[in-house]
């Protein structure tokens, strides 16, 4: 636990990704396989199911410190993070803090085992754990009890560190970390083991990602003939893996999502053996349906006939990653596309080739892009014809050339604190628009302001609070913000009757008063 707490502190302080990667690599090189596995698990953003809620932890903290509940609550609100509050409030020395147990032992013997404990035993075990640890250890232990670590590293950085520690290329590590795995010593040793001829058959390849294109492509990208253009679909990115008799459908979040889309799994049987394709799942009836429709298919254990009929789906395939068991990713896109077209010839729905968008020059392509909203797509994808299918998001190979977002002006109505480094700042906002004499909530947004604006708005929120509901404050309806969003759909679950897709703050409109904000009627006019 001590070594991991030290790593956490180093990562927390480190600025710049190289420092973080080398700190993690140093840890991975010396950690036991059991500890390393849990470290990879937590650092890559995975979490264990929360075993004890914040209310109980606060009660136990009050008992452990001998302070009243309300003072624990006030302190928590000031600090922002419960695990940190616990670490800061408990007195320096409870016992001799010389616990030598490693991360894995802590997680398995002191945290996961709480699952089977009675309330009273739970409390006594948590309280003794606090007593056995120093401040850094207490913080980490409590963090693991309450949820995610959030230390500013991504799975990609963890992969880089493991690549450094193991000497394997990052792609090999990324591949080994995809899919479902449990943090065991065997898993961790497997990350370091010699590369095998046939890696786990279920695994997809790491998804290759695009950067947003903000410049004029004619200036930045050169000859249009070096580029392949496709529609940028607003669906779910997925890899369909058929190896032997087994078929797997993977989302980018590395979940197996086949259960939600049984028709795609069934259709995959018509693909040649040992094929992996990359594409986008869309709700589709004659033409593409809004994302809101597709959402109805998600997160279900079983998709019944009725829903399958109401929301039919398709997989629009745009890349071929493996054919006959051979990894094609290093080949140029142009060649991969030709082979893909041959495979897809005559293939019935729901598998479908994502069409190319043809244009003689950038100007003509820009004109087609302007039709995006009417076509139900987000814009265009531009991919270098001679490019390999890489890993991560390197610049200059795949671009997403999205259309300008829609915008509206809304009034700040509620605010609540953020997480991690913004835990004691109000950074999560709810916005409203006019509906007659009323204000009706229209969207939540978490990002879009810079640090200075966040601090200024935080101060304003504290000084203009109307009411407090737990962590949420309602504020005077005065501040107007321009929100950008990608789409709008009718929704019976929202009081406003509309749901916005990807709302975020574009600008703080301090030049506008609440009377200048939009009305619900104006927004409903944007509904497709």
């Amino acid at each position: 636990m001590h070594a991991f707490a030290e790593l956490f502190q180093t990562l927390d302080r480190a600025r710049g990704t190289n420092a973080k990667v080398s700190a993690m690599a140093a840890y991975f090189s010396q950690a036991s396989a059991a500890d390393g596995a849990w470290a990879v698990y937590f650092l890559s953003g995975r979490r264990i199911k929360r075993l004890i809620g914040p209310t109980r932890l606060r009660e136990w903290l009050a008992e452990a410190t001998g302070l009243p509940d309300w003072l624990v609550t006030e302190t928590h609100e000031h600090v922002g993070d419960l695990a940190e509050t616990i670490a800061l409030m408990l007195p320096e020395e409870i016992e001799q803090a010389d616990d030598q147990r490693g991360l894995a032992e802590w997680v398995e013997a002191e945290i996961l085992s709480l699952r089977d404990c009675e309330e009273a035993e739970c409390q006594s075990r948590v309280t003794s754990a606090w007593a056995a640890l120093d401040e850094a250890g207490r913080f980490l232990y409590s963090k693991l009890l309450t949820g995610a670590l959030r230390v500013g590293v991504s799975q990609t950085l963890v992969e880089r560190a493991l690549a450094q520690a193991s000497g394997h290329p990052q792609a090999v590590i990324a591949h080994r970390m995809m899919g479902q795995w449990t943090p065991t010593a065997a898993f961790y040793s497997g990350l370091f083991s010699e590369r095998e001829e046939h890696e786990d058959a279920s695994r997809p390849y790491p998804f290759f990602l695009a950067n947003p294109l903000e410049a004029d492509p004619a200036e930045l990208l050169g000859d249009i003939h070096d580029w392949q253009a496709e529609w940028k679909w607003d669906g779910i990115r997925a890899q369909l893996v058929r190896r032997g008799d087994a078929i797997y459908l993977w989302s980018r979040g590395e979940g197996l999502i086949g259960e939600s889309f049984p028709e795609i799994i069934e259709a995959a049987e018509t693909l040649p053996a040992d094929t992996v394709v990359d594409g986008e799942i869309l709700a589709w009836q004659d033409d593409v349906l809004p994302f809101a429709q597709l959402q109805r298919r998600l997160g279900r254990q079983r998709v019944g006939k009725k829903l399958r009929a109401e929301v039919p789906v398709r997989l629009l395939i745009y890349d071929l990653l493996e054919q006959g068991g051979e990894d094609l990713r290093a080949r140029p896109l142009g060649g991969r596309r030709q082979t893909l077209e041959a495979i897809m010839a005559g293939m019935p729905p729901p598998l479908m080739l994502s069409p190319l968008v043809m244009a003689a020059d950038w100007q003509a392509l820009a004109a087609l892009r302007a039709e995006s909203r009417a076509r139900g797509v987000e814009g265009l994808m531009l991919k270098r014809r001679d490019s390999a299918y890489g890993t991560g998001r390197p610049r200059g190979i795949w671009w997403k050339w999205k259309i300008e977002p829609l915008t509206l002006d809304a009034i700040l109505l509620y605010a609540q604190p953020g997480h991690g480094r913004r835990a004691n700042l109000y950074t999560d906002y709810s916005f409203a628009v006019h509906d007659g004499e009323q204000l009706v909530p229209i969207a939540k947004a978490y990002s879009g302001l810079n640090d200075a604006e966040i601090r200024r708005l935080d101060r304003w929120i504290r000084q203009n609070t109307r009411e407090r509901f737990g962590p949420v404050r309602s504020v005077e309806p005065q501040q107007v913000f321009e929100l950008a969003f990608e789409g709008i759909a009718a929704s019976s679950r929202h009081k406003s009757g509309v749901a916005l897709r990807f709302p975020r703050i574009k600008r703080w409109r301090e030049d506008l008063g609440p009377g200048d904000a939009d009305t619900l009627q104006q927004i409903k006019a944007l509904l497709p």
């Binding site: 000031h78 480094r421 601090r455």
Partner: protein, 334 residues
């Protein structure tokens, strides 16, 4: 019910029986000053009284021509029927608690104070009283200070690591009090020379003039043109962070020394490489300890987190209430 011995007015904390103010925020006839920080020592009053060790600092702050009476710690002054004496507060050089009595009851206005040892000023003295006016800057149980020596050792280690990499170490800290305490606490030998920002240097000189032993320092403005600062420690006020003044250092490693650094969110959001928990103010355990030791039955609070402290003390059976003051408006003061 008779009028309280000390109460806030538009001008500051006022003792009507003795006709004087404590740390007034507007010009008055007679001002007794607890210490030289800007939110406590404001210019424009006709006559000032303050503890002798801080006279140099106050004279600098209030102007050379201001009349300030230096008072020894423990010396008594008579203001009509009211007896006043000044006692060490352990906050910065020359900081004082003001003891006020009319013969019936004893009031103590603490000003700002801390209980930790500090080589640059006289240690806090517990003054028994009936009513204790205490600061409450850090009055939440999350604020418990680590030992200053341990923090100084931490800074030293970080400085050493930066010096090895050829990076200048810049510690931002409040220019008066904190900066000098840091200098005094740093273990020797130092990994390199120490430079002070122009706002820190004269105050540090005042400390030396008052007989406080501090390590040798140079002023940035007097550094040689070819000075590369690669192993140096630089102490500067927080306002210098991100300014063009910083351009003279190649790849500086920056740290901030403040009680607020106890909270991870504050540490990270500030954008410094490191946050060091070191404060001139009393922490939560020190606050409760002090209130208990004074034996005060009534506690009045100033600064910051007063509401929680007041409620807590009331629940503990003390008579506590917040006082409205303008102290602690400067957020760097921590």
């Amino acid at each position: 019910m008779h009028a309280p011995l000390i109460q806030p007015t538009e001008d500051g904390l006022y003792c009507a029986a003795g006709d004087f103010h404590i740390d007034p925020w507007r010009p008055v006839e007679r001002a007794i000053i607890t210490h030289a920080h800007a939110d406590h020592a404001r210019s424009g009053s006709a006559l000032y009284w303050a503890a002798k060790p801080g006279l140099g600092l106050l004279q600098r702050r209030l102007g050379k021509n201001t009349a300030i009476h230096g008072v020894d710690y423990g010396e008594t002054l008579q203001f009509g029927p009211v007896t006043v004496s000044l006692h060490p507060a352990g906050h910065i050089l020359g900081s004082a608690q003001i003891r006020v009595t009319d013969g019936h009851e004893v009031w103590v206005a603490s000003g700002d104070y801390k209980r930790d040892t500090d080589p640059t000023c006289a240690p806090f003295e517990v003054i028994p009283c009936d009513t204790f006016i205490t600061e409450a800057t850090f009055a939440l149980p999350a604020y418990r200070w680590p030992s200053a020596a341990a923090v100084a050792a931490d800074i030293q280690q970080w400085w050493q690591a930066n010096a090895t990499e050829g990076r200048t170490t810049v510690v931002f800290s409040y220019a008066l009090g904190k900066a000098q305490r840091l200098l005094a606490e740093l273990p020797t030998p130092h990994p390199g020379p120490i430079f002070l920002h122009g706002a820190v240097a004269p105050l540090t000189q005042d400390y030396r003039a008052a007989g406080i032993q501090l390590p040798v320092t140079q002023t940035i403005g007097e550094a040689a043109d070819n000075e590369d600062f690669s192993t140096s420690l630089v102490i500067a006020p927080p306002s210098a962070a991100g300014s063009t003044w910083m351009r003279r250092f190649r790849k500086p490693a920056t740290g901030f020394a403040s009680g607020w650094m106890r909270i991870r969110g504050n540490r990270r959001r500030r954008g410094y490489d490191r946050g060091f928990v070191i404060s001139d103010h009393v922490d939560w355990p020190g606050l409760l300890q002090t209130i208990e030791e004074t034996g005060a039955k009534r506690v009045l609070t100033t600064h910051g987190r007063a509401d929680e402290l007041v409620r807590y003390l009331n629940e503990m059976g003390l008579n506590a209430a917040p006082l409205n003051t303008l102290y602690g408006e400067d957020e760097e003061n921590g």
